[in-house]
């Protein structure tokens, strides 16, 4: 007995659009069973997870705030993954971006003249810091052939420990009663709120703009074509005259820059100071988001929203239904697995072939 995957002639646009929706449905069903086994009504859980977050203004804003960094990071990662480059260190690039941009805010803290240029300088510094940090694995790969998977991952821990040290040590607020955190940023160093009295800040627009720009670049530009070609056929890319080293550096620069920007947006927007930890794992969750969105910027935007909804819903479920947060993580993983599986089904017919196993 063995399974055979028979390629389908052509992939219809309908099935390509439907498959993630069906996968989501299947994930909800499986999740419902798990919830029922834990003694909670699946209907109540569904309400808390998916209906409640979408039905009040505060949690809608929270969803947007969670989705923004995920979409921004995942969009950058899509450039790498399309070119078969495995940057899994976006978390580190995020942290370094937040740290470097935050240091600009701390350096200018309290000074009178520094106003209009502080925020742009922070965003630029954060982006460049993330970019530079991503250059380490990129250059190691290009020059020495070191696996970017290992180096980019290990640099995450370096970045996290660096931020931890800085927030507890040199950057600690001297008047902060020894709490391990920096001064609270001046208003000039904060992203403006979109609506008075709400939590939604301008960082959401930054993410949206980046996703749109990436959609044009990846889908329509020669550069986006290079990325796709290098991933699909490296030798054909050389024949097209696209240098692999240059593309590797470019892809890492884009994903590192996007992660760094997301980091400083988070620090200048939501947090407003440097703390030992500034990310609940956005850089890693973004990997799921990138693949859930099938490496297309628009898909990534949708995927980021779905993940954000489940995260916010998961927090509510923890409080209201005493369901563990791990259930949310399991659900997110399940969703990714099912989306990838659904993709296989749209591309191949699966046949059970009786007879000798291979």
């Amino acid at each position: 007995m063995r399974l055979d995957l028979v390629p389908r002639g052509r992939r219809s646009a309908l099935s390509a659009a439907l498959s993630p929706a069906l996968a989501f449905l299947a994930a909800v069903l499986v999740g419902g069973i798990a919830v029922a086994l834990m003694g909670v009504s699946p209907a109540a859980a569904f309400t808390v997870y998916f209906v409640a977050p979408l039905s009040d203004l505060w949690s809608l804003q929270e969803i947007a705030l969670k989705a923004a960094p995920l979409a921004l990071i995942a969009t950058g990662l899509a450039f790498c993954y399309r070119a078969n480059l495995w940057n899994i260190g976006a978390e580190g690039q995020f942290v370094v971006g937040g740290l470097a941009g935050g240091m600009v805010a701390i350096a200018t803290h309290g000074s009178e003249g520094a106003t209009f240029w502080v925020l742009p300088a922070m965003l630029l510094t954060g982006t460049l810091a993330g970019l530079a940090y991503a250059m380490i694995p990129a250059l190691l790969r290009v020059k020495l052939g070191v696996s970017e998977i290992l180096t980019s991952l290990m640099l995450v821990y370096v970045a996290e420990l660096l931020l931890d040290y800085m927030a507890r040590g040199p950057l600690r607020d001297p008047a902060g009663y020894n709490f391990p955190q920096s001064v609270t940023f001046d208003d000039a160093a904060r992203l403006p709120y979109l609506m008075e009295g709400d939590t939604l800040h301008a960082g959401v627009l930054v993410a949206l703009a980046a996703v749109l720009l990436a959609a044009v670049v990846l889908g329509r530009s020669l550069f986006g074509f290079e990325m796709r070609l290098v991933g699909a056929s490296p030798r054909a890319a050389r024949f097209a005259g696209f240098g692999e080293a240059r593309l590797t550096l470019m892809a890492f620069a884009i994903s590192g820059g996007a992660a760094g920007l997301a980091g400083i947006v988070e620090v200048a927007g939501k947090i407003g100071q440097l703390q030992p930890t500034i990310s609940p794992g956005y850089g890693f969750t973004a990997i799921i988001v990138a693949f859930l969105g099938r490496l297309s910027p628009v898909g990534i935007l949708l995927a980021a929203l779905v993940i954000a909804v489940t995260t916010i819903g998961g927090e509510a479920a923890q409080i209201d239904l005493r369901l563990p947060l791990d259930l949310t993580r399991a659900f997110q993983g399940l969703l990714l697995g099912l989306v990838l599986a659904a993709d296989v089904f749209t591309r191949f017919k699966v046949r059970l072939v009786p007879g000798a196993a291979r």
Partner: protein, 511 residues
């Protein structure tokens, strides 16, 4: 032996559908022990599908396969091998990063020691003249050497039926001769052989029976020895294959390519170093470079295309030093290139035809504006290539990988020719391509030269070179023999040079 009662293997009423497409439509085929049975047909006629069914890689939608009159199920290649069916693939199914011996061990029974295996490989090499170095990694081998592994791997199974898919497409005439001897010996040992080839003269020489496929159906069976190559081709194609118009006479144009003592160290272990290659081609001329696979063709192509850069003066295109330039800079000088491997080098199989237009033409054709790809322009160009070269495809802009080999080759050659290059370098222009497509490609090369371009054809197919090239040089061990006018040389003389026998004059004396 050949007169044994029933057929050794039979396939009856075989139907294979892929979605709406019927690749095999009620095919009957009988193969007897002790015969070499030819399977003829254009690319896309359904030969590969039928072979894969016989080798257990595909299961038929309808129909049965029999072995000595009994119905058998070929659920997997292992099942096929247990029944004594072996296969030599056209596109090699070898693991690049394993050695020769490891690749062979992959299909052998478990528990065979390395030493034993090496002994058996050596013994087989002795018997059939198929020499192999067991410890060399496959990635360092030429196409010809890789095929030898496939054949040895198949023979080690002691098969009753050997399926060969275009086996001579990578061999020199001498090597092909050797292969024929091997095949004839296998036949005389009482084995059955199913021989797929486009080279009709080979089929006529080797095979006593032929089954001809067209569009998934059996359209005829014959004794190829009683037919002419033209009548066989007509049966395959369903029409007469066009003859090729005469190659142009003496070149008159200016010098378009000059290689001046082009040397290049071997790029990797086991690759071939290029040594002092000097050459000049004028507009209006087709120059052929003959040679056995692995004698520096890939390295020479890379140095010509700019995928590998060399000192500036070593390569001159229209007089301009170009050795230091990359491939796109050379394209801007009016050069165009067609690599040997169409899947994954000349074209990206997963991308659409219009994307594959952008692949090689983005630097020289108006395909981008402000860094954005003009997709309509790319699609229009893909359509004009398809029309000009009769590329048959499903849908307006399908993925390149969905085209048959011959059609994809027409597309990648057409893509470059429609750029009207002043210099075209093409490596194995008709490798594994059916007769009609090959004729079309060769004619296009001749026409391009007639319009004043210089054409450099690297080919292992001597018939092809003698058909289209004005002068022929031989690449052996990374050195190039002086080009000789076609009229002043012979296949034998070129064949000797391919084997490494000194200069043409020595060869002439030796002959």
């Amino acid at each position: 032996m050949a007169s044994e009662a029933g057929p050794l293997f039979g396939a009856y009423g075989i139907v294979k559908r892929f979605g709406a497409f019927t690749a095999n439509d009620h095919i009957d085929l009988e193969i007897r022990a002790g015969e070499i049975h030819a399977l003829l047909g254009e690319n896309g006629a359904g030969k590969s599908t039928l072979m894969k069914i016989l080798y257990g890689l595909l299961e038929p939608t309808e129909g049965v396969v029999t072995h000595r009159g009994e119905t058998v199920r070929l659920g997997s290649p292992e099942a096929a091998r247990r029944l004594g069916i072996g296969m030599v693939f056209q596109h090699f199914s070898l693991c690049e990063n394993l050695t020769v011996a490891e690749n062979i061990a992959l299909v052998m029974e478990r528990g065979l020691s390395r030493a034993d295996l090496a002994r058996r490989i050596a013994a087989l090499g002795q018997t059939y003249g198929l020499h192999l170095e067991p410890d060399r990694p496959v990635w360092s081998l030429s196409a010809g050497e890789r095929q030898r592994i496939e054949i040895v791997r198949c023979l080690l199974q002691d098969p009753k039926l050997v399926i060969l898919d275009e086996p001579t497409s990578v061999l020199t005439p001498g090597e092909a001769e050797l292969l024929f001897t091997v095949l004839e010996r296998l036949r005389d040992e009482g084995r059955a052989l199913l021989y797929i080839s486009h080279r009709l003269d080979e089929v006529r020489r080797l095979c006593a029976r032929a089954t001809i496929l067209r569009a998934g159906k059996v359209v005829g069976a014959c004794d190829p020895r009683a037919e002419s190559a033209a009548s066989l081709a007509a049966m395959m194609v369903g029409e007469e294959v066009r003859g090729i118009a005469a190659a142009p006479g003496a070149p008159a144009g200016p010098e378009r390519l000059r290689l001046d003592r082009l040397s290049l160290p071997a790029p990797r272990l086991h690759a071939t170093a290029l040594r002092d290659i000097t050459l000049a081609i004028r507009g209006g001329e087709i120059l052929g470079i003959a040679g056995i696979a692995g004698n520096g063709q890939a390295e020479l192509f890379a140095a010509l295309s700019g995928e590998t850069t060399v000192p500036a003066g070593a390569v001159r295109i229209d007089g301009a030093p170009a050795g230091h330039l990359g491939i796109n800079a050379r394209r801007r000088l009016g050069a165009a290139f067609v690599p040997e491997e169409r899947n994954g080098h000349a074209a990206a199989p997963g991308l659409s035809l219009s994307d594959n237009i952008v692949l090689s033409r983005h630097a020289t054709a108006p395909l981008t504006r402000f860094g954005l790809v003009r997709r309509a322009a790319a699609r229009a160009m893909a359509a004009s290539v398809s029309t000009a070269f009769d590329v048959r495809k499903a849908g307006p802009d399908p993925a390149a990988g969905t085209l048959s080999g011959g059609n994809l080759q027409k597309f990648v050659v057409g893509r470059e020719i429609l750029a009207e290059p002043g210099l075209l370098v093409v490596d194995q222009p008709t490798w594994g391509v059916d007769a009609a497509a090959a004729a079309r490609i060769r004619q296009a090369l001749i026409d391009l030269a007639a319009r004043g371009s210089a054409v450099l054809v690297i080919s292992q197919d001597l018939d092809e070179l003698f058909e289209i090239a004005g002068r022929i040089a031989v690449l052996h061990g990374g050195s190039l023999s002086p080009p000789v006018a076609r009229a002043e040389t012979s296949r034998e003389a070129v064949g000797l040079l391919m084997g490494g026998a000194g200069t043409p004059s020595e060869a002439a004396h030796a002959a």
